[in-house]
């Protein structure tokens, strides 16, 4: 394992210290429990948004703390949901009396720890609501799974609900908006290589040189199946068609498209994938009216990509376009 780290034990602390030093104008980092909090939190008369999850997905979530997006992020250990104490500490730091919305990716660990934290918040008389994000079409939401995973849609949801909260929407409205986004967004991902969890020291899985993993999540888990290596066009189809079929997206739809790298995929390849996605959607009469191309929701040093589509309406589009000022997403300011 070759990584630019000191020791696996110090990785998260060092990275957070770097984040704090680099973006002290936007956010503050606190340690033990580890929290990243918007500098002006609690923001008066605003619903507070908290997201969290294992580290290793940077810039998610810590890079999305700031005006127009998250009030706080709770980074757990690498790929490990944060502990309730962290989430509760964040809750106390950011709530301004208008309620707190937990934005939770649907994994057993995340839901359980946020559940615990919500119980603690309830005892402390802080109003909390929770939204589960579960957009990964690679997983069937059935009795036979822990339900669909939360992946790429997370970023879009954080941005859009963040804009609504910033504009003064109340807790119920934010929650409803999140539910609407969940209902209209779908994702799917693939990997060319596994990642290496620092404490583990070796790749989580080994892929032959001529195969890729289809239907991966964002934790280096193997995907639903292995497939023979193929062209960007063919891979784009294998990602896009299940997404389109699932909602389904239909001719005439306007969508926000996220082409996301898994951490080690260079931008040049992501633009190739965006080009393929665009052509596939064109063929279905679906128009991309907003888009984002880059490494936003990563799995450490995994190579690969994911597609996320979110059906837009004028309200969502306006909220997407609203100013945002975070380390990793910034426009309008």
């Amino acid at each position: 394992m070759k990584k630019l780290i000191n020791t696996p034990d110090h990785l998260l602390h060092d990275a957070l210290a770097g984040l704090a030093a680099a973006h002290g104008d936007i956010l503050t980092v606190r340690f033990n429990p580890d929290l990243v909090v918007r500098n002006d939190a609690p923001v008066a008369n605003k619903v507070a948004l908290i997201a969290g999850g294992g580290a290793g997905h940077e810039p998610l979530h810590t890079g999305f703390v700031g005006r127009g997006m998250l009030d706080a992020a709770c980074p757990g250990a690498i790929f490990t949901a944060p502990v309730p104490d962290q989430i509760f500490a964040a809750t106390k730091s950011v709530h301004s009396g208008q309620g707190v919305l937990y934005l939770v990716k649907n994994y057993t660990g995340d839901t359980l720890n946020f559940e615990f934290a919500a119980e603690m918040a309830e005892l402390a008389d802080i109003e909390v609501a929770t939204v589960l994000i579960h957009d990964d079409v690679a997983v069937q939401d059935s009795l036979y799974t822990a339900g669909r995973r939360g992946v790429g849609l997370t970023l879009l949801l954080e941005k859009i609900v963040g804009a609504a909260a910033e504009a003064g929407a109340d807790l119920a409205t934010c929650q409803q908006l999140a539910a609407q986004i969940s209902a209209h967004g779908r994702s799917m991902g693939m990997a060319l290589t596994s990642c290496t969890v620092p404490h583990h020291g070796k790749p989580t899985f080994e892929l032959p040189a001529d195969e890729f993993e289809l239907g991966i999540g964002i934790h280096g888990e193997p995907g639903r199946q292995r497939a023979k290596m193929a062209s960007a066009a063919a891979i784009a189809e294998q990602l896009a068609l299940p997404i389109i079929a699932d909602l389904p997206f239909q001719a005439g739809d306007e969508v926000l498209a996220l082409v996301n790298g898994m951490g080690a995929t260079p931008l040049i390849e992501l633009y190739v994938m965006y080009n393929e996605l665009r052509q596939i959607l064109n063929g279905h009469g679906i128009t991309i009216t907003r888009r984002l191309v880059g490494n936003y929701i990563t799995a450490l040093d995994m190579a690969g990509c994911s597609f996320t589509l979110l059906k837009l309406d004028p309200q969502l589009t306006t909220l997407w376009d609203a100013p945002v000022c975070t380390p990793a997403l910034r426009w309008g300011v």
């Binding site: 790929f79 490990t80 502990v83 997983v139 036979y144 799974t145 999540g217």
Partner: protein
């Protein structure tokens, strides 16, 4: 790196009660075993999860070891609840709330007690299991830690009912726990991260069932010395 097989049930006659002191020893042994098997547990998790189960539990039990002296003279309920809250606030992931809840719920059934009868042990374990099931919305057969815990409790109850001494009963129970752990290999996972793999989860031993077996073994070791 493979955890040892449970010993054959060749245990000498010993006391019929578990003391608070033994619970402390148990927790220490459990922490040690988790640390020793850290990489093995993580490797198991790499196959069907995200390669952190050993890392997670080791972080939690190391924190427990630091807290343990604070409750060295306390009752079993307090000890177990301290273990539980420490696990909850240091592990994270799925196993943190699940193991944490297990210890918390077990501790609640034995509040104020400095010794436990075999029957009280069973009640505590059943509370632990119910805690996991409730938090995890899970049951036996889903390829989780429950598949090691449930048969262990079943066997413990049956063999105690048939008149076995606690050490003998626990020995048989740990054997059942091991069998349960192994039974996860052919299972299709329907809970936790492994469930995302569908059919590909088959053929791998569940890391949580494995750590559960390590805990059971630690308890047996404790009574055995």
């Amino acid at each position: 790196m493979h955890p040892g097989i449970a010993l054959g049930c060749l245990i000498a006659e010993t006391a019929m009660h578990i003391t608070a002191q033994q619970i402390l020893v148990f927790v220490g042994k459990a922490a040690h075993s988790i640390q020793t098997q850290r990489d093995y547990l993580t490797d198991l998790d790499a196959a069907i999860g995200d390669a952190d189960h050993g890392i997670n539990l080791d972080r939690g039990f190391s924190a427990v070891l630091i807290r343990l002296p604070d409750v060295a003279d306390q009752d079993i309920g307090t000890i177990l609840k301290t273990v539980g809250t420490t696990l909850v606030s240091t592990i994270g992931g799925a196993s943190g709330p699940l193991y944490g809840t297990a210890f918390l719920r077990a501790g609640m059934t034995v509040a104020g007690r400095f010794t436990l009868s075999p029957e009280e042990l069973v009640v505590a374990l059943e509370a632990a299991m119910l805690g996991i099931q409730t938090r995890g919305k899970s049951m036996r057969g889903e390829k989780t830690m429950l598949d090691a815990l449930a048969p262990a409790i079943d066997t413990l109850k049956a063999t105690l009912a048939s008149g076995d001494d606690l050490p003998i009963a626990l020995c048989k129970s740990v054997n059942a726990c091991e069998t349960g752990m192994r039974s996860t290999i052919p299972m299709l996972a329907t809970k936790g991260r492994a469930s995302y793999l569908g059919e590909r989860s088959i053929g791998h031993q569940d890391p949580g069932a494995t750590s559960m077996f390590l805990l059971a073994q630690a308890l047996l070791d404790t009574l055995d010395t």
